[in-house]
């Protein structure tokens, strides 16, 4: 029993002694998956963070101090995400948190942000509810399902004249949300469709694909994140469904990962994906700078556009703190609401009318890209197109 008392006392002393000292840097919290099935996003984020810190600190930091990032791993798991977010707030005492790429994690995190009244800028979690809940502390400088579907996917399907659509969605918040929005749009446009549900992290889709083949769709909207998409695509070719039916990756990054071509082989040809980034499409000077800086630092072209997304939100956060002239939460939110900052994808301006998902939301322009002879060709929207859609013979 004495030893138990000893151990407990020891812990208390240790814990007490380890409280954070006065900081001479400004800490910004980042949440995102560094482990788990989407750990690739973590790597993309790390690159983006490095570039953003170089950029911010080289131009004088924030409030005269250097900026430091504390990157908390969520593992892609909502529970870990919520507790990670809480740690950033209670332990590291960051004035603002940015990041996230999983809707499910983000939906858990915004509750914590709201509870602790900490500004939170999301970059790559698309679920409408994230901003639709209209939390004062929550912002999104990235796509929302409704925006992506309403402005890009649905018009693309309509303009290209597809007659029969298949929706394949994973069981995640993002998958469910974006599929529902797509169904809503397709119904409105009178385009027939079927929806299939698949497991997140599934690897064998033969059963689903065989069922799908009977439906004879012209395009498959694949809302599957991660390498599951690769297997889906490769198997769609094996059963003879694709490329007769074109496959559109509704998320984007998986079609750009290094492993993509290894995993899909020839099946990658003619695949379509959503992206906010293309080598030849530079909407702002910052975009060009980002591209050059990336090549200089990492010796290759950026592939995962999430690198750029996190870069953007870090810039937004730094800018807001600078304009708020303090790390006070209310002041930062005020500043964020007045944001007018040029980032790589355009000029950020958050929506201010409560009531819909557009509150505290800024939607960057997106592209529909097709792999043609292993080259990325922007096929939609027309004003950004670098080529035309190719269909299988």
């Amino acid at each position: 029993m004495r030893k138990l008392v000893g151990v407990l006392l020891g812990f208390l002393v240790l814990v007490w002694a380890s409280d954070p000292w006065a900081a001479d840097t400004i800490k910004i919290g980042v949440v995102g998956p560094r482990t788990g099935p989407a750990a690739a996003t973590g790597k993309a984020f790390e690159e983006g963070i490095a570039l953003a810190l170089d950029h911010i600190n080289a131009s004088g930091g924030v409030l005269g101090k250097q900026v430091e990032v504390v990157f908390e791993d969520t593992g892609g798991v909502p529970e870990k995400a919520a507790s990670g977010f809480e740690k950033l707030v209670t332990r590291d005492q960051v004035p603002i948190v940015v990041g996230e790429s999983h809707s499910s994690s983000a939906l858990a995190e915004i509750e914590v942000a709201n509870r602790y009244k900490v500004p939170f800028i999301i970059c790559e979690a698309w679920h409408d509810d994230i901003t639709k809940k209209n939390y004062k502390w929550v912002f999104r400088a990235g796509p929302a399902n409704s925006g992506v579907v309403d402005f890009y996917i649905a018009p693309f399907v309509k303009d290209m004249g597809f007659k029969k659509v298949a929706i394949v969605r994973e069981n995640s918040d993002w998958g469910v949300g974006i599929a529902e929005r797509t169904e809503y749009n397709l119904t409105k446009m009178n385009i027939p469709f079927v929806t299939l549900k698949v497991e997140r992290e599934a690897k064998d889709f033969y059963t689903e694909l065989t069922k799908l083949k009977a439906e004879n769709p012209e395009i498959i909207l694949a809302y599957i994140y991660g390498t599951g998409l690769h297997f889906f695509l490769a198997q769609a070719h094996e059963v003879g469904l694709a490329p007769k039916a074109l496959v559109l990756d509704g998320a984007g990054p998986p079609s750009l990962w290094e492993s993509f071509w290894k995993n899909v082989g020839d099946a990658g040809e003619l695949e379509l994906f959503i992206s906010s980034m293309h080598q030849d499409v530079h909407l702002t000077p910052t975009s060009r700078k980002f591209w050059d800086d990336y090549k200089k630092k990492f010796g290759k072209d950026p592939s995962d556009y999430k690198t750029r997304s996190i870069y953007n939100v870090l810039l937004i956060a730094a800018d807001a703190i600078n304009r708020a002239k303090s790390t006070n939460n209310e002041a930062i939110v005020d500043a964020l609401e007045k944001t007018e900052l040029e980032v790589t994808t355009g000029v950020v301006k958050f929506g201010l009318n409560p009531g819909s998902y557009e509150y505290h939301q800024w939607m960057p322009p997106m592209l529909v890209v097709q792999w043609q002879n292993k080259k990325q060709v922007v096929v939609y929207p027309k004003e950004a197109a670098t080529g035309v859609l190719v269909r299988a013979k």
Partner: protein, 286 residues
């Protein structure tokens, strides 16, 4: 009809893979009464190593598969010697140690190989039109053939060789086998290595079809265990039957009942077996 045949073929392919993976578990359970919870990790390592050797080191795919299986075999020998042997006679500790080992290897795989699923080069490409009924990936057909070949080899090994005889003798009466001059420590070690190598070969064969990820190891282990219980602990015949039954049921169940519950059919079978026939289809009655 053609759809049904396609689902059935799918079931057979997965059944073959299930069977070789489960044979590895069964061999070890039969002679050592040890369940290796790190079985799935061996499968994953098999897939990853063959990928690393083929893509990273540029070794021809077939050779890289063989090398990866050999490497996992050696790893299995070391695990048996250092970790499993001290637990002989204490079932609880062998369960705990292999479970801990599985977590370690899973996280080690994550660090060494990264989180990305990898896909070693396919040995064959394209698909075959089966009797004009449905298209089927050639790599999958090859996997079925490879699995059948390995099962045949294992059956030969167990039925016809001295090693196999000693394995069967030990699983029936370990002490008596020793009293006939069988070095049961050595046989145990080799069997454990072989069990790991079987898992690795399943992983290496399947990886070009379903790329492997460190996080996928748990499901692999569980499937193998379900097959072993279904077939009867330590029964090799049971493994093959159980593997195929599970593969076919899962695929037909997924096709005609619910895709989401694909993996639950196995566990329902497991519970059913435990209630009705705990010694499995081909096991010894206990």
């Amino acid at each position: 009809m053609s759809e049904f045949l396609m689902f059935l073929t799918n079931g057979l392919v997965m059944g073959g893979i299930n069977a070789i993976s489960a044979l590895g578990v069964s061999l070890v359970v039969g002679i050592m009464r040890v369940i290796n919870f790190a079985h799935g990790e061996m499968y994953i390592f098999g897939g990853y190593l063959s990928y690393q050797l083929a893509v990273g080191a540029g070794i021809p795919p077939v050779l890289s598969m063989l090398c990866s299986v050999a490497a996992v075999f050696l790893g299995g020998l070391a695990i048996e010697k250092w970790l499993i042997r001290p637990t002989y006679g204490d079932e609880m500790y062998s369960l705990i140690i292999t479970f801990i080992l599985s977590i370690i290897l899973q996280n080690a795989a994550l660090l060494i190989f990264g989180p990305y699923p990898v896909k070693p080069p396919s040995l064959v490409f394209g698909a075959t039109n089966i009797f004009g009924l449905f298209h089927y990936g050639n790599q999958r057909l090859l996997s079925l053939a490879l699995a059948a070949g390995i099962i045949g080899a294992i059956m030969y090994l167990v039925r016809r060789t001295w090693f196999g005889k000693s394995v069967r003798a030990i699983s029936q009466d370990r002490e008596m086998a020793a009293m006939l001059g069988v070095d049961h420590l050595k046989v145990n070690m080799i069997s454990f290595g072989l069990g790991c190598a079987l898992a690795a070969s399943a992983g290496a064969i399947i990886a070009p079809i379903f790329p492997v990820t460190p996080s996928g190891s748990g499901a692999v282990s569980l499937t193998a265990f379900v097959v072993v219980v279904l077939g009867g602990m330590g029964s090799l015949k049971g493994c093959i039957a159980g593997g195929v039954i599970l593969g076919v049921l899962e695929n037909l169940g997924a096709a005609y009942i619910s895709t989401d519950y694909r993996h639950i059919f196995g566990f329902i079978i497991l519970i059913g077996v435990l209630v009705l026939r705990p010694w499995g289809l081909f096991g010894k009655r206990i």
